[in-house]
Amino acid sequence: MSIEILKASSVTKRFGAMVAVNRVDFTLYEHDVAGIIGSNGAGKTTFFNLLTGLFAPEEGSILHKGVDVTRMTPQQRVARGITRTFQLTSTFDTLSVTDNLVLAYYRAFHKASMWNLFFTKMKRFHDEPKIISILETFDLLPVRDRMVKNLSLGEKRRLEIAMAVLAEPEVLLLDEPLAGLAESEIKGVLAVLRRHIGKQTILIVEHKISHVQDFVQRLMVMHEGRVIAEGGYEECLNHPEVRKSYWQIDDSATENSSNG
């Protein structure tokens, strides 16, 4: 029986009068590779932010392995093994590629007390096997000493995902990791992520369904803050409400006109 890793129950988030996430229930099981899709403004990123602790929900609860993490800070959730990436590439632009990775590595594998941070040099970890390996995996070795602000968008995306993967989190939450990437880069990123299937639990938010078609095992479709479909890829795509909200195909209207 699959173990429940993350469980959101009736989670609601409002911004003023607007209900961004409306009583959403969602469960992520161990080693799941699940996706959340939906049109712009569907509430995907807001729900993602609720799971990772950037926002606190007004109603509902979020459990991590049965422990209530609803009011926990992002830092506490990271310590529990929940790591995320951001929709807009989020790195430390005036640090080098290796230094970005060292920051991710150090927090994941060492006690990051202020004392340790103060008395530990960055250079000590520059040739750490895990860091070298991740640089190779994400094809970042040639740019390892480059300042992140001088990287291309694709390289920055790869770096951000590399930072998340490097920490070997239990749950990897990826917010539109393929946005702005060229087709060849998308294939590259998905190929790397595929290697983590079965080792980590992955939740990916994506705007374009075709990108995650071969990647996710399970989908949740959101529209106007609600979950309108959940299940396998084909199942979700053939769901009448998904067809209507996503592609503006109204099956009932088609049926009526053909009957008429």
Binding site: T73, F86, D93, S96, T120, K149
Partner: protein, 325 residues
């Protein structure tokens, strides 16, 4: 040994040049540059590395100066112990106000520090006048005992001591640049959300940076107190609150040698220009506007890439393009 020299050579060269300048520049000028540059490096660290602008540095300068002054006026005569008392006073005060102040956004942080400087000024001038002697200040020059090896009562020997202290301070900040803590400081400035989602505490990083920076400022205050042999509330006057910020921008925000270059330029402008122009600050104001419009790099920030190219014989200076120095 070679690595140690490589690590230190920039600092040793900079302060070696300043030590050489002592033979053709007035000693009070060089001493003031040394103390003022230590005063500025804390402000530069806060602004350049953590992203906090502080208009309250005179308060921390006063904590150090009065800590030393109280010791030398009321308790003992050893100037070294006096300096330690000043540094301890600065450390304690920064540790008390830090947990409250570092929670604030940068703009409110600037204002709350300015408010602290005003509070400290009135505390020293009025509330604690019985102990601080109000506007007259504490005079303890004759209380300072002569000490073996370096007698801080003599300007020429104070200069050697201040140079050694400055080298140690620069060594500390260069070391911080290389540490994970230094990288975290820069990371909290660039992208605090990302640092939080890596699992680090922005609050703790900022608090430690605040305490380190303001203890350094207190050290400058303690040196001022011993050098001048007196301390008055004027040291924490709000009118001079912008001085370290001005010098930081003049030298180059977030650069290791910016505070030293900025202090040299500022003190020289003040001492030279004030002889010819009554309102010399106006001239400094124009220079600052020019620096801002020219890309905010400051004197050292503009010169460093050229020097790096010169010394590395044309190697790509990618690292200098960022804020790590």
């Amino acid at each position: 040994m070679v690595n140690a020299f490589k690590w230190w050579w920039g600092i040793l060269l900079a302060f070696g040049m300043l030590a050489a300048a002592r033979f053709f520049l007035p000693l009070p000028f060089v001493n003031e540059v040394l103390i003022f540059s230590i005063y500025t490096i804390g402000c530069s660290f806060l602004l350049g590395r953590v992203g906090f602008i502080s208009f309250g540095q005179p308060a921390y300068l006063a904590f150090g100066a009065y800590g030393t002054a109280f010791y030398l006026f009321y308790v003992g005569t050893n100037p070294y112990v006096g300096i330690l008392a000043g540094v301890a006073c600065g450390f304690i005060c920064a540790s008390i106000v830090g947990p409250l102040f570092v929670r604030l956004r940068s703009d409110y942080f600037a204002l709350v520090n300015l408010a602290l400087a005003v509070i400290v000024f009135y505390m020293m001038q009025k509330v604690l006048a019985e102990y601080t002697k109000g506007d007259n200040g504490l005079w303890f020059l004759t209380n300072i005992a002569s000490t073996p090896v370096l007698n801080l009562g003599r300007s020429s020997e104070f200069f050697i001591f201040a140079t050694l202290v400055a080298i140690a301070v620069w060594g500390l900040y260069k070391y911080l640049d290389d540490t994970i803590f230094g990288a975290c400081c820069l990371a909290t400035k660039i992208n605090e959300a990302k640092l939080q989602f890596l699992g680090y505490s922005n609050y703790k990083v900022r608090l430690l940076a605040f305490i380190v920076a303001n203890t350094t400022t207190a050290l400058a205050g303690a040196l001022y107190a011993v050098y001048l042999g007196s301390v008055s509330p004027e040291i924490t006057a709000a009118a001079r609150a912008a001085d370290p910020v001005v010098v930081t921008i003049l030298g180059g925000v977030g650069t290791l040698f910016g505070p030293l270059v900025g202090t040299l330029a500022y003190t020289a402008l003040r001492d030279v220009l004030s002889k010819f122009i009554g309102n010399w600050e106006l001239f400094v104001g124009f220079i600052l506007v020019f620096i801002m419009l020219a890309g905010e790099k400051g004197l050292w920030g503009s010169a460093a890439p050229w020097l790096q190219k010169l010394f590395s014989r044309g190697k790509a200076a990618d690292a200098m393009g960022g804020e790590r120095r």
